[in-house]
Symmetry: C2
Subunit: 413 residues, 2 copies
Amino acid sequence: MSYFALSEATAAAHLATVPVIHRILGGTSADWTVREVGDGNLNLVFLVTGPDGGVAAKQALPYVRMIGESWPLPLSRAYYERLALADQGRLASARVPALLHHDDDMALTVMALLTPHRALRGALIEGLRYPLLADHLAEFLANTLFYTSDLAVPAAQKKKRIAAYLGNTAMCRITEDLIFDEPYFDAPMNWHTAGLEDVVAAFKADTPLRLAVQDLKARFLAAPEALLHGDLHTGSIMVTDQDTKVIDPEFAFYGPIGFDVGMILANFWLAAFAEPGQRPGVPSDGWLLLQAARLWNGFADRFGSHWRNLDPLAEGGALHAIGRHAPALRETAIAARIDMIWRDALGFAGCEIIRRILGLAHVADLESIADVEQREACERRALSFARALLLMPDHFPEIAAVHRAIAPALLPA
Amino acid sequence: MSYFALSEATAAAHLATVPVIHRILGGTSADWTVREVGDGNLNLVFLVTGPDGGVAAKQALPYVRMIGESWPLPLSRAYYERLALADQGRLASARVPALLHHDDDMALTVMALLTPHRALRGALIEGLRYPLLADHLAEFLANTLFYTSDLAVPAAQKKKRIAAYLGNTAMCRITEDLIFDEPYFDAPMNWHTAGLEDVVAAFKADTPLRLAVQDLKARFLAAPEALLHGDLHTGSIMVTDQDTKVIDPEFAFYGPIGFDVGMILANFWLAAFAEPGQRPGVPSDGWLLLQAARLWNGFADRFGSHWRNLDPLAEGGALHAIGRHAPALRETAIAARIDMIWRDALGFAGCEIIRRILGLAHVADLESIADVEQREACERRALSFARALLLMPDHFPEIAAVHRAIAPALLPA
């Protein structure tokens, strides 16, 4: 079947040809209701419900939806997304939607409907709290990152998986440009809150900052440590009180472990910096920073446990050898590796915060602060913090040190 | 044609079917002489000469020649070797033999005969000097490493080249095992000069050393910065007074730039450490260290020049963007990148020196020192220096600092 973009009018009839979808929805396609809800930047998303159940059908468009046909983007991203959903599903099955059907020609991926889930970002802005969220995200990160790394997977096998994702270059290019380049020069699509011109100019002239970002870009380009989600912000996470699902891995590729970790931490920190602007005068309950700490510590604990649980006699990944030959060194090696991930994560988090305030794609946490002066104040604090992450990582040997540095910025305005 | 191993008796008739070989050699295959000279560890090498000229025909064997059929090794390495010869030939045509013919089924690569070249290692042991050697090697390194990196090649195109070499896993595995693992535990194939037992035991128990090596192994596994030769020791270099050719890139893959640089520096340093044992009582003329310095400085200069010469308006590699958008930052970025390569090179050089003394594959520079006590003394100094490279890179901000540290070890015994 050659590609055509589905619509609310045509989606039901198209999906009715797939037996598994029929079974889940029940009835006939005439009984199904279809709602297009793609509020993201890139794709069509149809929620389809029938008498017995529902599915979510995501279809890539051959261009960037938020910009239009002037910015083409290959449909192949749907292929990489379903590849990643399958890989993540094997490693963290409870943390991603079940993949029900895919059609690469149609750039179509059909998943279990997540209900009554909602996107985490909006929920955090409303001040909602989720007791299992941090643990669930730690589980997703540790499982997908450890078990696709050189610790768990023999090198020859891992290189095949690296190769499987190497073609997802158009999506990586978006990150290269939007995160690592454009915020630091007068890119035409940059925008920012009025009043931040001095920071924009200062960052542009900040040689150490730009070199630190350049080094992280080099790592993003050429450090295939593990299979990354690649776009792990709070808009890619669906939550209920009891469940957490990570969606939208269309940016997936093999990259530096600290990138996924740093991006999700940055989005919790962005939410925390936005809080005083969202609820002026109300003291923070500290929940967001507590979740960031639980997420990081939970990730680090699980990453170490996965390592300890490797069969000491099995071949394992190429970096498992030290544990096989020198069991006494294993704990030190674990601590050293986790520290390297932490250092990387700090840098990538700094990049993510900066680009969400000065680049093209902003976050609603900050944008929804109606009072411009409040917003500017929150953003200014976040930018200053991001610069410190990039330039003074030694000041933040652990996440508690980060949070001590943030705390004063979170006092009510 | 399905694979069979050629012999001195069958090679001429086999090669006679290739028109380009016929043209070069002249006469008929009955007029050709064939000599098998493969003194390396892995392959058959036939030198074939006729009335008008000669060629070198290299054929992979399905096992490691120095060990035997008990250590199988895939023939595909011949495919990666001819791929690399072609890539290197485009970027540094004067520094590699011309590729005349290849037959992937036969794992056969036919190259221009290098005559009157000889292998550099043996020449250095004899004390011969080559005026253009260091510049030639700097040219080879700078051209092949810069022009396959994210500075010169757009990311999507570079990832295709990474993928092209990702299957060369069996050769990478040899390096992973022999350089990064086995020297640090009681691997059955390790051997060393009697008297070094204390160093073997100390290295095995040296946690910081082993963690430093582990980090470099992680970079070797997952840092596809540029197309590496992968085995750039002085046995892979053929020289005359006027010419230098780099051969045998069968370990080629995309890896960290500092690996190639560090391995060749290490082999110059190994030769320098061997000198007092080779010529007891004769003061060193300092030529070997001077060449190492010329090689590194020549590489760094050329790497920077290649960067400066990039078209400022062209797309270029993903890491070229900073130079496009912030020309004032370019020199600082160049210096920072060269410093990162230098740091990596020091570490990889340390690994190479250690494995050449305590691992499976030793170097003739040291092995040919007949006096065991002299040899042990040279090796002990080299090992101590290698450990310093790995653990105290900050002490060696430039190659002059390295050579100041080495100099006392090179005084006549």
